[in-house]
Amino acid sequence: MEEINEKIKVATIFGEGRVIPIWFEWKGKKVKVEKVSYRWKEKEGSCLYIHYSIVSNGILYHIFWDREKMEWYLKEIEW
């Protein structure tokens, strides 16, 4: 996986007790979420991060939501 660690904008739907990413914007391009292949939570101290593995156009993206800062990040990509 290639490390990116950049802030991104994400459009989400709140439903079924979850936050579901629908698309995100990275380097001026809109990446449509074709599939959320995995989702999990990580805690660092009292900070909660919700992680998603996303497949789009044959590329695997790892994004996460920092719930304390209310920011989304693109952590890494596998081409």
Partner: protein, 385 residues
């Protein structure tokens, strides 16, 4: 009935679910990339002979197309926690490890229950588990291993598994298997037909207890609120082998900090400390220390392991160190006798809980051994730091 639920190649399965392009491929989950040891191999990788405990280099030799994925223990812990929440709906749950649990389903239909939670786990995580069922935990655990992956096997009577090797019974290790074999006890059938005198000569009272448990005369219950942990430990495999005393001591202090933090979080103190040393060539040994006065802080733990390591001559470079504390009891000394020290640790631990473990440390280890990878804990989902 008691069911034993065992996730199939758990870490590797989670990684294959995370990255669908890995499905059906030989995958190995390893620690730090440089000098990794394989923690789990997918079933596809196992066909090549790739096994847990091998180095990545050994794995790649057996399977040149092996996909190596760096472990993400927090992801596995999070997944495990959610799986255990699913299982809790079906019966009394006893979490055995990060990827295993016992479930007492009483008189419910075991087939219906197993099908239901297997489907729920598969639908939520796209991973499978194998389930074994019996009237006791020993046989249930044995049964889950008989038909993997995505298996389901019920043992109605110990005679159903008479042909199975005694080595398949949890708690019977290689040394005991060899000793039993010398007495002609190779299979479970041999074990059940052997005299108690023979069994006791090799396994002591535990062997006798096992005999009566397998026979169904001793009940072993699923404990939904398990007792405090029997031991707490952490270990580190280093990116490069260590030889110098100063580096080794720094690494030991880092481990002592971690173990002490987990001990205090459980409100426990310990009377026994073990130090595990693994050389570059994988020769491994442990050094032990017991004392009447219980301990709970890193300085005391470090002082003990420092004495232990100084008592021997390290003849080869060290690739792994581990510290484990046992003979645990509820912390009384912490609260009653060392109030100032206790208050100080309360603040330190609060900072760690809030900002993460590495937010604060002791000045004596300000240049820690630079281990940025996960420090492996003893596995139980809620007890991982």
């Amino acid at each position: 009935m008691i069911l034993h639920v065992d996730m199939d190649a758990f870490f590797a399965s989670v990684e294959q679910a995370t990255n669908p392009s890995l499905k059906g491929l030989p995958v190995a989950v390893a620690g730090a990339k440089k000098r990794s040891v394989i923690t789990t191999a997918s079933y596809e990788a196992r066909k090549y002979g790739v096994k847990t405990g091998m180095t990545v280099a050994e794995g790649l030799k057996l399977c040149p197309v092996l996909k190596i994925v760096v472990a993400n223990f927090k992801k596995y812990e999070a997944t495990s926690r959610e799986i255990m929440e699913i299982l809790k709906k079906y019966g009394e749950l006893e979490v055995y490890s990060v990827d295993e649990a016992f479930l007492d389903i009483g008189r419910a239909n075991h087939k219906e229950v197993a099908i239901a939670f297997k489907k729920e786990i598969r639908d939520n995580f796209n991973i499978t588990c194998s389930v074994g069922g019996a009237e006791n935990k020993v046989l249930a655990k044995l049964a889950s291993g008989l038909k993997k992956p995505d298996g389901f096997f019920i043992v109605n009577d110990v005679k159903d598994v008479y042909e199975v090797s005694v080595s398949e019974i949890c708690g019977i290790g290689k040394k005991t298997v060899r000793k039993l074999a010398l007495l002609g006890i190779i299979t479970i059938g041999d074990f059940m037909n052997a005299s108690l005198h023979k069994i006791k000569s090799v396994m002591g009272i535990h062997g006798v207890r096992l005999f009566y448990t397998l026979k169904g005369e001793i009940k072993d219950y699923v404990n939904p609120d398990p007792d405090r942990p029997k031991s707490i430990g952490n270990s580190m495999t280093f990116d490069r082998d260590l030889f110098h005393k100063a580096e080794i001591e720094k690494a030991l202090f880092q481990l002592a900090e971690k173990v002490a933090f987990r001990l205090r979080r459980e409100m426990l103190e310990a009377r026994h400390v073990s130090l595990i040393v693994r050389y570059k060539d994988f020769e491994t040994f442990s050094l032990q220390h017991s004392q009447a006065m219980p301990i709970y802080d890193e300085k005391e733990i470090f002082s003990i392991v420092k004495k232990l390591i100084s008592s021997i001559e390290l003849v080869k470079p060290v690739r792994l160190l581990g510290i484990s504390v046992s003979d645990l009891a509820p912390a009384i000394q912490q609260r009653l006798f060392d109030k100032n020290l206790y208050e100080r640790y309360k603040v330190i631990d609060m900072i760690r809980e809030r900002w993460g473990f590495n937010a604060i440390t002791w000045g004596i280890v300000k240049d820690k051994y630079p281990h940025n990878k996960p420090i492996s804990p003893s596995w139980k989902p809620d007890k991982i730091c």
